[in-house]
C-alpha cells in the first residue's frame, strides 16, 4: 500500500472543505479521498488500484448522517448509515421491503457492520482485470490502455449498457433498488448542496474511468426514496454462484402497483447484468395496463434484454436475467400486502 496522510473530519462541511480545490478529474483518482467503512477503499489500496495521497475519515459524520426516517415524502436515509441497520429496520422491512432485502442479501454480516449506504452505491467494479494491476489493459484503471476483459474471461461481465471501452458489471444490490424506486441523492459540494436523481449518478462506459458525476471533494450526505403505491409490493431476487456472500450473476429489483392483476405501475432495476445501476424502462412500459401473468412477465423480460450485447462467456446472462426478472415479478404479485 502506498503511503498516505490521514485526518478526521468532524462534519460534512469540514470534509468537503478538506477535499476542495482539487483539479476536476475522475473522483476515484483524486489525491484526497473520503473513507468511511473502508471495505472498498482499503481493498483497492492494497491492490494498488486506488492510490489516494490523503484520506479524510468521515466516520464521525455518523452523528448527523446515520438515520432512517419515513415521512409523507418517503424514506430518508443518511449516507453514513451502516448496511446492517437498513437490513434490520422494521419499518423499512414493512413499507420498503425491496430496500431491506437488497441489504440482507448483500455481502456478509461483518461487511454490513462496516460499510455505509453511500459507500455501497460507490463500490467499484469487481472485474478482475480492473482490480488486479497485473493485467496490462484496463480503461477504468489506466484510461486509454484498452480492455483486457473483452478478449478475456467474461462470465461475470455485463450484457446491458456496455461499450467498446468497458464491459464490467456494476456489482451492487442496493443501487438497483434505488434506481427502480427513482431515489434522489443529496450531495454536498465545497460550494453548496445539490440533489440529483439516483439514475443520473452513475455514468455509462464512454469514459470508464469516470464512474459517477461526482467531482473530487463532493460528498453524498443522504438519499430520499419517494413514497409511492408500489413500495410495499416490492421484492429483490438475486441469483449467484453460491448461496450467500456473493455478488449477483443476475438480480431483479421489482416494485408493483396492482389493481387486481392489472399493472398500474411497475418499477424494475436489474443487477449483475448491466454496466451501471440499470432501470429497465422498456420492461416497465410493456407491463403498464396489462394483466400480470407469466406470459406478460416474459414479454417484459424480453423487452428488458432486447438490447443485450454478449461476449464469449456471458451469453447465459440474457436467459438468466430474463428468468430472474420473471420470478421477481411473479413473487411481487404473490406478496400479501397488509
Amino acid at each position: 500500500m502506498r503511503p498516505f496522510s490521514y485526518r478526521r473530519a468532524r462534519d460534512a462541511a469540514e470534509a468537503t472543505h478538506a477535499a476542495a480545490g482539487q483539479p476536476n478529474g475522475p473522483a476515484t483518482a483524486a489525491a484526497v479521498q473520503f473513507i468511511a467503512g473502508g471495505t472498498t477503499m482499503l481493498d483497492l489500496m492494497k491492490l494498488d488500484t486506488a492510490r489516494p495521497q490523503q484520506l479524510i475519515d468521515i466516520a464521525d459524520l455518523r452523528t448527523r448522517c446515520d438515520y432512517i426516517r419515513i415521512d409523507e415524502h418517503g424514506l430518508h436515509l443518511g449516507a453514513l448509515t451502516r448496511m446492517q441497520r437498513l437490513a434490520e429496520d422494521p419499518m423499512v422491512n414493512r413499507v420498503y421491503p425491496l430496500l431491506a432485502q437488497t441489504m440482507q442479501l448483500a455481502a456478509s454480516p461483518q461487511v454490513r457492520n462496516m460499510a455505509t449506504l453511500a459507500g455501497n452505491v460507490l463500490q467499484r467494479s469487481r472485474c478482475n482485470y480492473f482490480r488486479n494491476g497485473g493485467w496490462p489493459k484496463c480503461n477504468k484503471r489506466d484510461p486509454g490502455s484498452g480492455c483486457s476483459a473483452i478478449d478475456g474471461v467474461t462470465r461475470k461481465h455485463a450484457v446491458l449498457g456496455v461499450g467498446e471501452h468497458c464491459i464490467s458489471a456494476y456489482p451492487g444490490d442496493f443501487a438497483q433498488a434505488l434506481v427502480a424506486l427513482d431515489a434522489t441523492v443529496e450531495i454536498l459540494t465545497p460550494t453548496g448542496a445539490r440533489t440529483l436523481r439516483f439514475e443520473s449518478l452513475h455514468l455509462g462506459p464512454e469514459r470508464p474511468e469516470l464512474e459517477t458525476v461526482l467531482l473530487p471533494g463532493e460528498l453524498i450526505t443522504g438519499f430520499l426514496v419517494p413514497a409511492g403505491p408500489w413500495t410495499q409490493r416490492s421484492t429483490f431476487v438475486k441469483v449467484r454462484d453460491r448461496e450467500s456472500y456473493e455478488f449477483a450473476l443476475a438480480s431483479a429489483a421489482v416494485a408493483l402497483h396492482l389493481q387486481g392483476a392489472r399493472v398500474l405501475a411497475a418499477r424494475i432495476g436489474l443487477g449483475g447484468v448491466a454496466y451501471r445501476p440499470w432501470r429497465a424502462h422498456e420492461a416497465e412500459a410493456s407491463l403498464i395496463g396489462e394483466m400480470l401473468t407469466e406470459g406478460s412477465a416474459q414479454r417484459a423480460a424480453q423487452a428488458a434484454f432486447a438490447g443485450a450485447i454478449t461476449h464469449e462467456d456471458n451469453a447465459f446472462k440474457v436467459e438468466l436475467g430474463r428468468r430472474t426478472l420473471v420470478r421477481a415479478l411473479l413473487q411481487a404479485q404473490a406478496m400479501e400486502i397488509a
Binding site: 498516505f4 496522510s5 473502508g38 482499503l42 475519515d57 461483518q110 457492520n113 448461496e243 450467500s244
Partner: protein, 215 residues
C-alpha cells in the same frame, strides 16, 4: 477418538508455540535486521521499516479491556496492529481483502473485518479471540463448544469463526441451522468443517453470557 484428537491438538499447539518463539526470537536476534540496518537504530524491532512519505500517527487502542498507545504508520490495519504491534496473533490474516473472515474481531460489540479497518480509524473498544476466556483460563462457551464438537481441522479460520459465532448469537441470528449458515457466511473454512461449526453454535448459544460481558 476424542482423546486421540486432543493429543494431536496438544502436539500441534506445542509445535506452534515453538515455531512462533523461534520466529520472534530470530527477528529480535538480528536475522532480519541487517536488511534494514539503516533504520535499525531509529525503529523498534517490531515496526516495519520507514518509507518516504509515510505518516506515523499516535493511535490509542483499547483491546480486551487494556488501553495501549502505539505509534503506527497510517497504513497499519487493525489486524496488523493487533498481530505485529500488540502481539495478539490469534486474529488471523487469511486473504487480507475481506473475503475470508479469518480476521474477524468485535469493535464496539459489532463483528468487523480487522484487515479492512485502519487501526487509526478505530474509535471503540476491540475484543479479540484472546479476550473471550475468563481471567482464570475458563474458555468462553463458544470456544469450548468448538472443541467439544470438533469444529475445525487445521484451525486457521477458527478464531474468526468463533468471534463471528459469538456475534451471530448475540445478534439473534442463531435460531436454526439455516439461519446460522446464512449469518456465518462471511467466514470461510477451507477444511469445510461447516457441519461441526453449526453444531458448535447450536450447542453454545444457550450457554452464552449476555452480550455486554463478552464485548
Amino acid at each position: 477418538m476424542r482423546m486421540w484428537f486432543h493429543k494431536i491438538a496438544a502436539m500441534q499447539s506445542d509445535d506452534r508455540v515453538n515455531r512462533r518463539r523461534f520466529l520472534l526470537s530470530a527477528g529480535a536476534a538480528g536475522v532480519v535486521a541487517p536488511v534494514f540496518s539503516a533504520m535499525a537504530s531509529s525503529a523498534p524491532a517490531t515496526a516495519p521499516p520507514a518509507v518516504a512519505g509515510a505518516t506515523e500517527l499516535q493511535v490509542v487502542l483499547t483491546v480486551n479491556g487494556q488501553t495501549r498507545s502505539l505509534s503506527l504508520d497510517s497504513r497499519t490495519t487493525l489486524l496488523d496492529g493487533l498481530r505485529d504491534h500488540l502481539r495478539l496473533t490469534g486474529s488471523k490474516k487469511g486473504c487480507d481483502h475481506g473475503q475470508c473472515g479469518a480476521c474477524t474481531v468485535l469493535v464496539g460489540g459489532r463483528r468487523v473485518l480487522a484487515c479492512l479497518t485502519l487501526a487509526v480509524a478505530v474509535r471503540e473498544p476491540v475484543t479479540t479471540i484472546e479476550g473471550l476466556a475468563r481471567p482464570d483460563g475458563t474458555l468462553h462457551p463458544m470456544q469450548q463448544a468448538f472443541i467439544d464438537e470438533d469444529a475445525f481441522q487445521c484451525g486457521f479460520c477458527t478464531p474468526g469463526q468463533i468471534m463471528s459465532a459469538v456475534a451471530c448469537v448475540h445478534e439473534g441470528y442463531a435460531a436454526n441451522e439455516a439461519q446460522i449458515r446464512e449469518y456465518m457466511s462471511g467466514n470461510l473454512c477451507r477444511c469445510a468443517a461447516y457441519p461441526h461449526i453449526v453444531a458448535a453454535i447450536q450447542a453454545a448459544k444457550s450457554q452464552m453470557p449476555p452480550a455486554s460481558s463478552a464485548a
